[in-house]
């Protein structure tokens, strides 16, 4: 039997590590690493500072830290996420604020479960039509979609521009010989 869903209520703050087998819905505040086998929902008004790892992660509040989703990470409208996202499927709804790198794996993974906020659980219904859900974000303003919707084809970022590190300004050449200390000493003598 699945354990009951855990809840961190709005007025409560946890500082430390959180580990669990089941699901967790956060309305309050957590500072520290969070590892769940089940689902994590960061509700509106909630803040998490730390890396989070869960089977599926839904962010409606604020997350500062990396999000590792075994199946999916959803960043809903109104969410604020500062950190990298690692998941085979990433969904970002327009209206989300997001700063971080997206690491997506296999786009042919099975369909999403659907999070039911009334039950705080995944219902296992098939994902809605990809066309209806697809949002293409151009976070870098370079015409290349960074995040696409549920099953829209992923376009790999060409390896040029962003992969090449910017050229460092040339350093002034090191002196090949020591300055004449006797002359320097003379200038400091009182």
């Amino acid at each position: 039997m699945r354990p009951r869903t855990s809840v961190v209520p709005a007025g409560v703050r946890i500082e430390g590590s959180v580990d669990g087998e089941g699901d967790l819905v956060v309305f309050g505040h957590i500072t520290g690493p969070l590892r769940l086998v089940g689902l994590l929902v960061v509700e509106e008004g909630a803040t998490i500072r730390g890396h989070v790892h869960a089977r599926a992660i839904t962010v409606r509040g604020t997350l500062k830290g990396n999000a590792f989703g075994d199946e999916v990470v959803r960043v809903e409208a109104g969410a604020r996420l500062v950190g990298d996202v690692f998941a085979p499927r990433i969904k970002v709804v327009r209206g989300a604020q997001l700063a971080g790198k997206m690491h997506m794996g296999d786009p042919d993974a099975p369909a999403l479960d659907v999070y039911d906020p009334a039950l705080h659980t995944l219902t296992g219904r098939p994902a809605p039509s990809p066309l209806a859900e697809t949002r293409v974000l151009d976070l870098h303003g370079d015409g290349i979609p960074t995040v696409s919707g549920i099953s829209a084809p992923l376009r790999r970022r060409p390896s040029r521009s962003r992969q090449d590190p910017p050229e460092k300004p040339a350093l002034a050449p090191l002196p090949t010989s020591m300055p004449d200390l006797r002359r320097l000493r003379g200038t400091f003598r009182s």
Binding site: P3, R4, T5, S6, V7, V8, P9, A10, G11, V12, R13, I14, E15, G16, S17, V18, D19, G20, E21, G22, L24, V25, F27, G28, H29, G32, V37, E43, E44
Partner: protein
Amino acid sequence: MTDPAGYFAEDLIIRGRIEGEGAVEVAGTFDGPVALRGRLAVAPTGRVTGAVAADEVHVSGVLRGDVNAVEAHIGASGRVIGDVKASRIALDDGGVLDGTVLMDVALPEELSR
């Protein structure tokens, strides 16, 4: 959305501290101090290790640590290993308190000297 009560299910292991206000029920494992304006309940499967300060503390599981509360209640399946400071305390038949009860007792004049 209505504010739900806090619940830490039996699978959940938290190491750290909890503070804030509201009601929290711990059915899992919590190691660390608790400072709550509100109610802390330790469910029968709950294990809390650390000092607890809350308005109301109900223990049906195991609590290792000192309790500072207005109202403390140790249920029939509850065990508290630590001192309990409370204005009101209740210990149900079957419950265990291994520690000292610290309560301001209003004695009659002739005994308070």
